[in-house]
């Protein structure tokens, strides 16, 4: 396991809900990240965020770590949930609320 993978594993392992995104929740730098933040804020869930624009290793590393080509990426309790499209689909189906509630 590379150093970057170990760092990512540490982040997803030590935070119940963590969003890898471009920018910060207050200043998202991409529409998709902004949408992901809006969903989490709407759910009122506490989450950690990682700004991949501040860390090129994580920006590239997270894509292979998750086998997922885009950012944002949401992890809940160490499990990869998906990007903003899946978050929106799960939110509309009531599944995301359930997932974060049972993991809070």
């Amino acid at each position: 396991m590379s150093d970057t993978n170990a760092r990512i594993a540490e982040i997803v392992g030590s935070n119940n809900v963590v969003l890898f995104m471009k920018g910060t929740p207050l200043f998202p730098q991409c529409g998709f990240s902004s949408r992901a933040v809006a969903i989490l804020d709407h759910l009122g869930v506490q989450y950690e965020s990682v700004d991949v624009l501040q860390d090129m290793e994580i920006r590239q590393g997270i894509k292979s770590f998750s086998d997922w080509p885009t950012i944002p990426q949401l992890y809940v309790k160490g499990e990869f949930v998906g990007g903003s499209d899946i978050m929106m689909e799960m939110y509309e189906a009531g599944e995301l609320q359930e997932l974060v509630a049972s993991n809070a």
Partner: protein, 77 residues
């Protein structure tokens, strides 16, 4: 780099021949799309797996050439 909607549809259909693909040009600029893909191949698969099948069909363009593609997937009614 803009990519025509019909190219996106063609790539998806090449990999998922039964797919019904609906593409919406969100900003009218040929660069921000929403795609809705309905395929029997998705039956019984979790959402992540469904999206990965479409990303695989797009052959690595997702996240690069295709920055802004909102994706929703569904199984046929």
């Amino acid at each position: 780099m803009p990519m025509p909607a019909k190219d996106i549809e063609a790539l998806i259909k090449a990999a998922l021949p039964d797919a019904e693909v609906t593409i919406t040009d969100l900003a009218g600029d040929g660069d921000h799309y929403a795609a809705h893909v309905v395929s029997a191949v998705f039956v019984g698969k979790p959402r992540i797996a469904q999206h990965k099948l479409v990303y695989a069909a797009l052959g690595g363009r997702m996240g690069g050439e295709l920055h802004a593609l909102q994706l929703t997937t569904a199984v046929p009614n």
